[in-house]
């Protein structure tokens, strides 16, 4: 039983065993990129590094012999935005001599690294795709955690503002295809984005669209996962979730895609709810009709289905409501497939990519390797200039 005693002591961690020694702390330098695994470091080397006082305060995600992971490697430029747990700066990488986006996350006294940050970084490590923002590096200090992302010059929200009145239908088709391509990749890897909205879709100068902000995303394995209920900004939130359905999945992201598709064509958010859930539902039902058991089995049993709070509307043809949808072949059809009230009827990302709406695009686009941009295919190019309706 002497073994037992030893173990007993071992696990009764006493308070003097608190912190990492500096040696171990120094050992935290590891390389982020999966393609270049770090060489295991010898103790001797580690101790040498330990004598470098400038470094002892920092945990770095990159190797000790690598210039990555060091905060000096990046120059912080102007602030780009502020979120609930992070501030985003434009930055400059002294290593790669290019502009980057620095997402600086404050470490919390009460919860440590925010779960959103943990989810975002760990999921992005798994997701390497031309239509998903690239995470280059992670730097940590005692107080902050900085994610170094590729810098993409604008997002769809700003892009729509600059091109008011709707985008060129040819560009809409390219953006939609890329959005579906990114989501299909995520869904195949059992990741839901859960916060699809124009602000989270980055647009590069040549028109590449990249899904960003995976703070609310999560890897899922079906069906045992739990979700927090309210995750999507109201405007892009599907009716099933608004009605209190707790059973959402990939269809959650697809509703947002439908909203964004029509928004790109018309230039206006299509369901800009202002007050609450019921206002949001009212906006949706005015167009798509108030759902009944006939069109959506089980809808009346959803916890939020309160007939006295819901107006009674007949469904309309989307093309009548948004005539611009007729400017493009199959535009109305595509919108209808995406904006289905019943989540089970909503088209999936894969099927949407082969929808006849995309018939005009080169077939090659469906066979591109994950990390290749659609703009590498000949003839695929963003149409410049302001779109002023059909001639």
């Amino acid at each position: 039983m002497s073994g037992h005693d030893r173990v007993k002591r071992q696990l009764s961690v006493s308070s003097d065993s608190k912190l990492l020694d500096d040696d171990i702390r120094e050992e935290t330098r590891v390389i982020l990129r999966p393609k270049k695994p770090p060489r295991p470091k010898s103790e001797v080397l580690l101790n040498q590094q330990g004598s470098d006082h400038r470094r002892t305060k920092r945990f770095s995600a990159f190797g000790g012999d690598s210039p990555f992971g060091k905060s000096e490697a990046y120059i912080k430029l102007e602030q780009l935005g502020e979120g609930s747990y992070a501030t985003v700066y434009k930055g400059y990488s002294n290593l790669e001599h290019k502009v980057v986006a620095l997402k600086e996350i404050r470490l919390q006294e009460e919860e440590g690294a925010p779960f959103t940050a943990i989810r975002e970084a760990s999921l992005l490590k798994e997701l390497k795709h031309a239509n998903i923002v690239t995470l280059h590096d992670i730097v940590h200090t005692r107080e902050t955690l900085t994610f170094v992302f590729e810098y993409v010059h604008t997002d769809l929200s700003q892009y729509l503002e600059r091109n008011s009145g709707g985008l060129d239908p040819r560009n809409v088709r390219l953006f939609l295809f890329q959005l579906l391509r990114g989501l299909s990749y995520c869904h195949k890897r059992r990741v839901l984005h859960r916060d699809v909205k124009p602000q989270n879709l980055l647009i590069s100068e040549i028109g590449e669209l990249k899904l960003a902000d995976f703070g609310l995303a999560r890897a899922k394995s079906v069906p045992s996962h739990t979700y927090s209920h309210e995750v999507v900004t109201l405007w892009y939130r599907p009716p099933d979730v608004l009605l209190g359905s707790t059973e959402y999945s990939t269809s959650l992201d697809m509703w947002g895609v439908g909203c964004i598709f029509v928004e790109m064509i018309t230039g206006m958010a299509i369901f800009p709810g202002v007050r609450d859930t019921y206002d949001q539902l009212d906006k949706i039902f005015k167009v798509l009709g108030t759902p009944t058991e006939e069109v959506w089995e089980g809808v009346t049993r959803l916890p939020g289905y309160k007939p006295h709070k819901l107006g009674l509307y007949q469904p309309k043809k989307l093309g009548l409501y948004w005539p611009r949808l007729h400017d493009v072949v199959q535009g109305e059809n595509m919108a209808t497939s995406l904006l289905q009230l019943n989540p089970q009827d909503r088209i999936g990302a894969d099927d949407a990519m082969i929808h006849p709406y995309f018939n005009g695009l080169p077939k090659k686009l469906l066979e591109l390797p994950d990390d290749v941009s659609i703009f590498s295919v000949e003839g695929v190019i963003l149409t410049p200039g302001h779109y002023s309706g059909i001639k």
Binding site: S12, S15, I24, R25, L32, A121, P223, H225, S228, S249
Partner: protein, 298 residues
């Protein structure tokens, strides 16, 4: 945040429905392809003090904490995945093992659960032998060591893929029963060092075989064990020999565990720091009230 509305209730957890988009062959193939990345190898050559036996003790403690805190089934196996992978790359002293286990639970919970475990609760379970500041230092250490690669594939991820592809209902076995038996077996495997080097798909397939045999598949289906092995082989492409060996190991583990349980009528050796008996805390927890645990001051 104005446009976000919270109607979340704490009593019910939201469960994802069975989404065909997430159960198709491509998702399964991706899982099979990525699981290798999250496999661990033996740590005995890396660790100078920590032994497989100590791992088991800390694992049992972690399982108990997850259990008492009603954590999702996958939190414990995922935490063990982090722990094994960490031990593979970083030598620690045995005094730090419980701290490591605690951090792994915290990370697994943050990654997978809508309401992650609270640091305070975890510190309490270690009898305050670790502090929150230990947790935060080690959180970053573990993340770095694992290269932030923590969205790991676990046996649970394969479970529904496998179960959906077996005619369980038509053979007359309740689906939920197979599901829950398999999950229990997965947790028991995660506790054992022997299984730590196995791919997640193999653990999942073998636990399903054990669960089905335990629930009378052979009698009810009229199929032989070989037929069942063959079915699992067709789903996961794992060699039948491996499936057979792993299933046997699970069965002997289960019979051992059952034997151990008989001994548990004796007072249990106090191998890990037990939570202090704090009436208020225990009442609060067992009542399962939706009150925020943060309201409780220890």
């Amino acid at each position: 945040m104005n446009d976000l509305l919270c109607c979340e209730t704490t009593a019910i957890e939201n469960r994802a429905y069975i989404d065909p988009n997430l159960l198709n062959q491509r998702v399964l193939n991706n899982l099979l392809k990525t699981e290798e990345r999250y496999m661990s190898a033996s740590f005995v050559n890396v660790q100078k003090e920590v032994t497989p036996h100590m791992r088991k003790i800390v694992a049992e403690w972690m399982m108990e904490v997850c259990d008492e805190q009603n954590r999702q089934d996958e939190v414990f196996p995922l935490a063990m995945n982090f722990l094994d992978r960490f031990l593979m790359v970083c030598c620690i002293s045995k005094r730090q093992l419980q701290l490591l286990g605690t951090v792994c639970m915290l990370l697994a919970s943050k990654l997978r659960e809508p309401k992650p475990l609270l640091a305070e609760t975890l510190v309490f379970y270690t009898d305050h032998s670790i502090t929150k500041s230990d947790l935060w230092s080690w959180e970053v250490l573990v993340l770095s060591k694992l290269k932030w690669d923590i969205a790991a594939v676990t046996p649970q991820d394969f479970l529904s893929h496998i179960l959906r592809r077996l005619p369980i209902l038509s053979i007359g076995i309740p689906y939920e029963l197979v599901n829950s038996h398999s999950k229990t077996l997965i947790a028991l495997c995660a506790r054992e060092y022997n299984f730590s080097g196995y791919p997640a798909s193999l653990i999942a397939a073998a636990t399903v075989i054990s669960a089905l045999c335990g629930l009378g598949w052979i009698n009810k289906s009229g199929e032989s064990v070989e037929d069942l092995l063959n079915r699992l082989h067709n789903i996961t492409s794992i060699e039948q020999d491996y499936l057979k060996t792993c299933t046997k190991q699970i069965e002997s583990m289960v019979s051992q565990t059952t034997d151990d349980n008989i001994d548990e009528t004796l007072p249990r050796p106090n191998e890990f720091t037990p939570p202090p008996t704090n009436e208020k805390f225990i009442d609060h927890e067992s009542a399962g009230t939706p009150t925020d645990v943060r309201d409780v001051h220890f």
